[in-house]
């Protein structure tokens, strides 16, 4: 008989453990609540992350959050505070320098390995319990203390309330910054506020799913939602729904075992995305979106009382550009020195 690299039975046995499930459920209610809260935050913040094209920044912030957490570990300070400091600081640096994706990307690329390296340095200097060591990177085995839960709920509430307060201007500034700015909106200020919210959300997520996997919570659900709809309201609802499915579902599956919850969360999240992508592909093949009038424009009659375009001009000038005679087109600068 061939000896498999892993024993299949023990694999299944450790991935899906449901002994004393009811008992565990009661004991680990905190974790479930933490997951639910995090799903809500991740789903909401994620839609703006996608809108602003900040996926890469999220990854960068997570690595600096990791560095902050490990520094706190080394110094014997509070890990959550350390992680929060690291990510908010990183988010602010990114917020103040490169606001939109392209300018910011190189900065993130520079910060990310620095943060990760720093974190690894602190970890190897740290001589405490080794079980703590990698949970910050890859997520922890379910166990959330009441104190931890309280701080998570408070921070999440701060994020949610602020987000609701800036909802419309932030959407405007994220999708159409030029006009939003012309309308007098503080586009830069909104960007900085959002980066702080993002920093807090990342720090919260790092505690549960780990620094390397925050994207599964802050990107994947929103991306999946956007595959299914381009209505902002529906995007938000679906994104939160998917994030909750991934978080709460992941925790429920992970409860009994001794495997971190992150593989469960990332897998559910990925599967949801995969399905949404397939749905989108099918839809795009049939008909991309509803149009009530297939042939507008060219042959449509002019609106009431409007017959100004002279026949011959219309014939001589195939739309849209004027051909033939240039109608006062000042495309050049004669006589410039």
């Amino acid at each position: 008989m061939i000896t498999a690299a892993i024993d299949w039975n023990s694999f299944v046995g450790s991935v899906f453990v449901f002994d004393n499930y009811g008992e565990l459920l009661g004991l680990l209610r905190n974790s479930l609540w933490a997951g639910a809260v995090l799903g809500l935050v991740g789903g909401l913040v994620g839609t703006f992350v996608m809108m602003r094209d900040l996926a890469f920044s999220v990854h960068g912030i997570a690595e600096l959050s990791f560095a902050g957490a490990t520094a706190a570990l080394l110094l014997g300070a509070d890990v959550v505070t350390g992680s929060l400091l690291g990510s908010v600081l990183a988010a602010l640096v990114m917020g103040f320098t490169g606001l939109r994706a392209r300018e910011g990307n190189s900065l993130v690329g520079v910060l990310m390995p620095f943060g990760l390296g720093l974190g690894i340095l602190f970890l190897s200097l740290y001589e405490g319990r080794s079980s703590n060591k990698f949970s910050l990177l890859t997520g922890q085995i379910v166990s959330v203390s009441s104190l931890q839960l309280t701080s998570m709920v408070v921070l999440s509430a701060v994020v949610l309330v602020t987000l609701v307060g800036v909802w419309r201007p932030l959407t405007f500034a994220s999708t159409d910054p030029l006009v939003a700015r012309a309308k007098g909106l503080p586009v830069r200020g909104l960007a900085v506020v959002f980066m702080v919210l993002l920093g807090i959300s990342v720090a919260l997520s790092v505690q549960i799913v780990g620094a390397l996997l925050v994207l599964a919570l802050l990107i994947t659900p929103a991306a999946a939602a956007m595959n299914l709809t381009s209505s902002p309201a529906r995007t938000v609802v679906l994104s939160v729904l998917f994030a909750e499915l991934a978080m709460v579902g992941g925790i429920l599956l992970a409860l009994g075992g001794n495997i971190p919850i992150s593989p469960y969360v990332t897998t559910i999240s990925f599967l949801l995305w995969l399905v949404s992508r397939a749905v989108r592909a099918v839809r795009e093949r049939s008909s991309s979106y509803r149009r009530t009038t297939p042939h507008r424009g060219a042959s449509a009659p002019l609106t009431a009382g409007a017959t100004r375009v002279p026949e011959e001009t219309a014939a001589a000038d195939p739309a849209p550009g004027p051909g033939g005679l240039e109608p006062l087109k000042t495309g050049d600068r004669p006589g410039t020195g």
């Binding site: 839609t47 996608m50 809108m51 609701v164 307060g165 909802w167 419309r168 201007p169 959407t171 405007f172 999708t175 159409d176 030029l178 006009v179 939003a180 700015r181 012309a182 309308k183 007098g184 909106l185 956007m226 381009s230 209505s231 902002p232 995007t235 991309s288 979106y289 509803r290 149009r291 009530t292 009038t293 507008r296 424009g297 060219a298 449509a300 002019l302 609106t303 409007a306 100004r308 375009v309 002279p310 011959e312 001009t313 000038d317 739309a319 849209p320 004027p322 033939g324 005679l325 240039e326 109608p327 006062l328 087109k329 000042t330 495309g331 050049d332 600068r333 004669p334 006589g335 410039t336």
Partner: protein
Amino acid sequence: MGSSTAHTAADDGAAPVIRLQDAGLAFGDRTLWSGLTLDVAPGEYLAVLGSNGTGKTSFLRVLLGLLPLSHGTVSVNGTRPRAAARGVGYVPQQRGFPARTPLRARDLVAQGVDGHRWGVRLHPRRVHRRVDELLARVGATGYADAPVGLLSGGEQQRLRIAQALAADPTVVLCDEALLSLDLHHQHVVSELVHEQRERTGCSVVFVTHDVNPIIEHVDRILYLANGSFRIGTPDEVLRSDVLSELYGTGIEVLRSNGRILVAGRPDSTHHTDAPEELLP
């Protein structure tokens, strides 16, 4: 042609909506324009013409308070432009949306209605109605629920117009708003802007390379060239002698079938055999 200017308040002595005094704009040692003193009255329609890079977009950015003047002063609605920005409708020079922008056509227009307000929308139905009405005005009802990123340039442009008119602004700034529209929609949009002005008495500043689609509505023209400018009614500015002097080279302004054509530039030799009628 040369529509009446009876609707303008230019002579009423009403406070100007836009006031520029000895305004100048320069980047480094390059002066785009200077010594510009101009009052735009409520309801006035100003067309801004000029070659690429003469500072037309920059002129609008000054009026929006996004670019400081290097010289002189500017006020909009009697205050500094930034403070007046809420009451300004702006159609930016064409810039498409990325394909995966999570907005539908109607959401883009809705941003013009209440996108600047804090919090979440409390009266969705009211906004919805207003958006439907605006979409109908620009003939965009047929693609109201389409993602903006998938729309054609002209379709997006019409949404921009609807968005800019949404808040019934006191000033409408259009930066080449007719670009990439077919003749029919050029006409629709230019009528729309005109009709908005008639209805609400707003002023219009319209940057364009082709003055013909809007010429019948235009009260005055600001013509930028060579770091200098001319300002006046179309008949005062669109003249061979005036533009020749401005450009420092022979320019001919022709009228053909009611269309105004500028000839005599290096790239306009193919126009010489055109049926023409010299101005003045």
